[in-house]
Amino acid sequence: MRDVWKLGFILFAICAVAAGALAFVNDITEERIAAQAAMKLEQALASVVPGADEFKDETDRVLAVAPPASRGGRPEFSAITKVYVGYKNGEMAGAAFACSPSGYGGPIDAVVGVSRDGVVTGLTVVKHSETPGLGANVTNRDFQMRFVGLRAGTPVKVTKDGGQVEAITGATISSRAVASGVDEALRLFELASREGVW
């Protein structure tokens, strides 16, 4: 019985040292990592809404137009996490929708840019955990360009589901997820325009 206390104490000591080391490293790196993430977001926004020189987080104002979730149902626009409005010289140039639809290996964090007149101007995948070699190809420029030029009004789907976007070979689920993100972004854009948000 005395052994249990002794072994427990040693394990506790090792865990405590490990926790201390992790806390120390986290303390040094936290700020830098946050800065990197902010810079990455800035770059992603600028790349999907070309021409805009300033972005404002207007998530609350835009998502306010979404209908409340019906009881027990999935709320609409549940994949949209943030909405940034891009301005050029104070005029709205477009909107960037950060969305996080579920892919094959987890959520795919992507940013979709939509111009003032409702056309997809850019798409970039910020973070994902799809299968390397297959679903991970959602980061390919080639694939992302397939969405550029799509218009609000028609649903965005992969060809297998009767849509217009060709899926990545061997990665229908990942492609479908990205398509649903773009689809939600365009629908939200249209709804917000109709409601006169911008």
């Binding site: 040693i10 992790l22 990592i33 990197q36 955990s129 390397p132 980061t139 070979t169």
Partner: protein, 209 residues
């Protein structure tokens, strides 16, 4: 026992992938593209060397009855530290290797070497063992991923994170997608193990004759 022999045994004679058959899960998952194979290999080597050194230093402190949880704490902390430091100071590299780092925690080569080697040997030998095993793992992944990427996509050395599509060898439509899916991984691994066994046996016969 020498530094050199501890280092070289991991390359072929006791290759972790083809001989000891450890770390099969990351092998299957990352050997689909050469860039992934090399990335996983380097990241795993780094953690393996670090954890081998620390566990070798602590080998007289850790009681044998609770050694496994202690090893796991050391390995998981080391992996997290590597992950955070890379994200903060070399974000470009972290973007490419980042997805492999969480996989390293469950890579049983690292736990295996801690248990079978570092807990019984000195720091210098453990360092050599970690380096050799890590390089052996990297070589095995590179070999497997060369075959799988070539047959599965028709390209070589594609790095999608850098926007580089790779060198095209033949048309993608002629490629067998199965090769970059799990079955292709098992087939490639099985054939390579068979080939190495065959060569090893022939070498032994030649030495006897």
């Amino acid at each position: 026992m020498s530094f050199k022999s501890e280092f070289t045994k991991g390359l072929i004679k006791e290759n972790p992938t083809f001989r000891i058959l450890l770390g099969m899960c990351p092998t299957m998952a990352t050997s689909v593209a050469i860039s992934n194979g090399i990335g996983m290999g380097i990241a795993a080597t780094f953690v393996l060397v670090g954890s081998n050194i620390i566990i070798s230093m602590l080998r007289n402190v850790i009681p044998s009855r609770i050694r496994i949880p202690c090893y796991i704490v050391v390995i998981a902390s080391f992996t997290t530290i590597v992950d955070l430091v890379m994200a903060a100071f070399v974000p470009k590299l972290h973007e490419v290797l980042g997805i492999f780092i969480p996989l390293i925690v469950v890579n049983c080569i690292i736990l295996g070497r801690a248990e079978a080697f570092a807990s019984k040997n000195g720091v210098l030998y453990s360092l050599a063992d970690g380096l050799g095993m890590g390089l052996g793992f990297t070589m095995a992944l590179t070999g497997m991923s060369t075959i799988r990427e070539l047959l599965g996509t028709g390209t070589l050395l594609a790095v999608p994170d850098f926007g580089f599509a790779g060198f095209k060898v033949f048309e993608r439509s002629l490629a067998a997608v199965m090769m970059i899916l799990p079955p292709g991984g098992f087939i490639t691994l099985g054939l390579l193990i068979g080939l190495l066994n065959y060569l090893g046996r022939r070498g032994k016969k030649a030495a006897r004759a």
